[in-house]
């Protein structure tokens, strides 16, 4: 009776096809470099309006290439994209996320090394953010190894907090830099019946962010080492990370019921409607520093007539008290891949080149403040962007963008889906008091070994 979706077996189907379908690459290309129709599928930009704005800018230069954007929710991405690509009638261009999706979709994606060389010259690797290349290249030693599956359009970085400027000003608070200061801020806010910090702890991605930041405060680089197998998850540093994580719940920094919260929409809506003073979000959140996006977000959360407030970036506190500044980390947000079965490859290449490598395309990305553009030296044009409160926001936001340029630590691209599940299990079992940090670390280590990570 309960009829509804399990998207599952889509996976099987496609693979069956991919396996037996064979590659008929002799398809004639109906497009030229300056004309044709390109169907683009993505989970981001998350609103069609933004995508259409990019397309409009693109059409100023290439009026004869028609681009159709189809938004597919990230949770339906695999289920919808696989059959479409396998059928041969799917999109010409599709979004690619570093990590697990590269493995899943690499066989459907054209190698873009030549496109990059054409657009940026032989030294192209020095002209774009390195994190965008590594994350979107298929792992050597596997099938399609070394293939550049997509051109990175922009990157996102995390390992920081965003503060509600109005709340901090009203209660005369400053951004916490240690665990004790963090607890103090929360105490003050609680006395005034304002929420302190909000996190969607039900989802692995955002738990990982917080854990990775804590780990970077305990021992810089340890998290990445554990991810690659150079350190064990049972390392005392990881156990301590989990113990501090537990402390965030026990000391009331985490909001009540955090393990039932999803970062989107729950935590996001609560923060944007001014119920909490702090949230763990990355550079993609910069877009809400603008009046336009903030106003739209408020209305999306169901609040009418609310006044936009300034959000301000802050470093993650040194929660371990070991004197380490907690380094940030990041990945390519998305790259654009070209389908091997596209019948409009020439036009598709023109579009990808424009988005990922041209000055105009990258400027459009930068000004959106969702991604840090892939090509080095492109920065948002703050003369055209209206911040809610330039006096308090402009400095910190510009600093953040500059700082991002030098980040090399990967965010999620080192972790397989199985390990991520293990991390979520560790995080929630510790948070709910079902496991001690030691036991949770042991279980996580076992999960990683079972998932095929080899440890030294």
């Amino acid at each position: 009776m309960r009829l509804l979706p399990v998207f599952a077996a889509a996976t099987l189907a496609i693979s069956a096809l991919a396996a037996c379908g064979g590659n008929d690459s002799s398809e004639s290309d109906a497009s030229t470099a300056t004309s044709g129709t390109v169907n683009w599928w993505g989970w981001t930009p998350t609103d069609t309006a933004t995508a259409n704005a990019y397309i409009a800018a693109f059409n100023q230069k290439f009026p004869d290439i028609k681009v159709n954007y189809k938004l597919v929710n990230i949770s339906d991405w695999v289920a919808a994209l696989r059959p479409a690509l396998a059928s041969g009638n799917g999109p010409d261009v599709f979004d690619m996320q570093p990590g697990a999706y590269v493995t899943q979709f690499k066989s459907f994606a054209e190698d873009q090394t030549k496109l990059a060389e054409d657009a940026l010259g032989a030294g192209w690797k020095d002209k774009v953010a390195p994190i965008g290349i590594s994350g979107l290249t298929a792992t050597e030693s596997t099938q399609d190894g070394g293939k550049l599956t997509a051109m990175s359009v922009g990157s996102v970085y995390a390992g920081m907090l965003w503060l509600n400027g109005d709340i901090f000003k009203k209660y005369n608070l400053t951004a916490p830099t240690t665990l004790d200061e963090w607890k103090h801020v929360c105490q003050v806010l609680k006395q005034n019946k304002v929420g302190c910090f909000v996190q969607g702890a039900a989802q692995e991605g955002f738990d990982q962010d917080t854990l990775q930041s804590i780990a970077n405060s305990v021992q810089p680089g340890l998290w990445s080492k554990a991810s690659t197998g150079d350190a064990k998850w049972t390392d005392p540093g990881i156990v301590k990370t989990l113990a501090i994580w537990k402390d965030l719940f026990d000391s009331g920094i985490m909001q009540e019921g955090a393990v039932g919260y999803q970062q989107y929409p729950d935590a996001n809506n609560d923060f944007l409607t001014g119920k909490y003073g702090m949230i763990m979000m990355g550079t993609w959140y910069t877009q809400y520093a603008t009046t336009k996006a903030m106003t739209a977000a408020l209305s999306a959360a169901g609040v009418s007539g609310a006044k936009p407030f300034p959000i301000v970036p802050a470093a993650f506190p040194d929660v371990a008290g070991a004197g380490n500044t907690s380094e940030m980390y990041g990945d390519a947000d998305f790259g654009l891949a070209i389908s091997t079965k596209s019948k409009n490859k020439a036009a598709a290449e023109t579009f990808v080149k424009w988005m990922a490598t041209s000055a105009e395309g990258q400027q459009a990305i930068a000004d959106q403040l969702n991604d840090i553009p892939s090509v080095k030296g492109v920065e948002p044009d703050f003369t055209k962007i209206e911040l809610v409160d330039p006096a308090t926001q402009k400095g910190p936001v510009e600093d953040l963008i500059t700082k991002s340029g030098s980040i090399t630590e990967p965010r999620e691209s080192l972790l397989s889906a199985d390990v991520q599940t293990g991390i979520l299990a560790a995080a929630t079992s510790v948070a709910t008091g079902k496991s001690t940090p030691e036991d949770a670390a042991k279980a996580l280590q076992q999960a990683a070994e079972a998932a095929g990570v080899t440890f030294k």
């Binding site: 009776m1 309960r2 509804l4 979706p5 399990v6 998207f7 599952a8 077996a9 889509a10 996976t11 099987l12 496609i14 693979s15 991919a18 396996a19 695999v78 289920a79 493995t103 899943q104 066989s107 099938q143 702890a201 039900a202 989802q203 909001q255 009540e256 019921g257 955090a258 393990v259 039932g260 919260y261 999803q262 929409p265 729950d266 609560d270 119920k275 889906a417 199985d418 599940t421 299990a425 929630t428 079992s429 948070a431 709910t432 079902k434």
Partner: protein, 314 residues
């Protein structure tokens, strides 16, 4: 002919027994019926059994769903289940979920059905409110429930408003209340069907029997227990069967409301199959779980049907 009202000359139960066996004895031989059921068999049985066979094959593979040349592992995916704590947790949740949702749905559905037959004012509106959840897609209602059960959601707001603030809690954010929330949502969604079927079945009860009981001095509750309830047994068995199958297939509500969490507190067989197959790409294991689910569902349906027939008596 077209204008005749629903024939209610015979009660379904007795007639169905007749139709099952007695046709030949009582009249001319019936014309062949196989061609008539063929389209249904081709459409449903053909399509669906093909799917089951395919899945059965996949369940013997160790496969991520992409790589060519998957490895044949025989029954390994099935033995793996025995040592998988999440699988057993999912089984426990599914069983508990079925028992509780079935009992509550039956009680509430029956109560409503009795009340709506008792000359209640505004019964027409009440009926619609109970049934409307059936037509609303869980995908559509999920955000509503996430909102409603949030720490600062409508439920806690109401509790605080009526002075029960102490009861306010993060309903879907703690392992102890998350499963009950999932059950509540399911009960909300499906009681309409239970109600409608009981309501319909009650119209078939001969009023003179009720009248006779009243004359004998039986009170309302007594009548309900000893006359109405036994008359509804067929419906109850059918609902139990549908409920058991539904519980085994449960996916959308826990997936959309709690993502199986916190800490696997609301993991069901349905959500676990999804988790293994799509996000984790353990396609072979997911297929093996699907096959186990099918077998259990079939056994449950047979057992319930059998129990129902046995106790129906003659």
């Amino acid at each position: 002919m077209t204008g005749t009202s629903t024939p209610t000359l015979h009660r379904a139960a007795s007639v169905s027994d007749e139709a099952d066996g007695g046709g030949r004895r009582r009249g001319p031989r019936r014309p062949p019926g196989l061609p008539w059921i063929l389209p249904a068999l081709v459409l449903s049985v053909g399509l669906i059994y093909y799917g089951i066979g395919y899945t059965g094959y996949i369940s013997t593979l160790n496969w991520d769903g992409i790589s060519p040349g998957p490895e044949h592992v025989g029954a390994h995916n099935y033995t793996r289940m025995l040592h998988d704590p999440v699988f057993w947790a999912a089984v426990r949740h599914t069983a508990l979920f079925f028992v509780l949702t079935f009992v509550v749905q039956t009680l509430v559905g029956l109560t409503f059905a009795v009340l709506m037959h008792s000359k209640l004012k505004l019964a027409a509106i009440y009926k619609v409110i109970v049934f409307v959840p059936v037509v609303l897609a869980p995908a559509i209602m999920a955000p509503v429930f996430r909102h409603m059960f949030a720490p600062d959601g409508e439920l806690n707001a109401v509790l605080r408003h009526i002075g029960l603030g102490d009861l306010a809690q993060p309903w879907i954010g703690q392992t102890s209340t998350a499963l009950p929330v999932i059950m509540f949502i399911t009960i909300w969604e499906w009681t309409g069907v239970t109600f409608v079927l009981y309501y319909a079945a009650m119209t078939q009860i001969d009023p003179s029997v009720l009248e006779a009981a009243r004359i004998d001095g039986a009170g309302n509750l007594r009548t309900l227990r000893s006359i109405i309830w036994p008359e509804l047994r067929g419906t109850t068995v059918a609902l139990a069967m549908l409920g058991a199958i539904g519980a085994l297939k449960t996916f959308d509500v826990p997936y959309l409301v709690t993502i199986g969490g916190p800490n696997y507190a609301t993991e069901f067989l349905g959500t676990y199959i999804y988790r293994q197959t799509i996000p984790l790409s353990h396609v072979g294991y997911g297929a093996a779980l699907s096959i186990v689910l099918l077998v259990v569902a079939l056994l449950m349906a047979l057992a319930l049907q059998f129990a129902g027939r046995e106790r129906e008596g003659r």
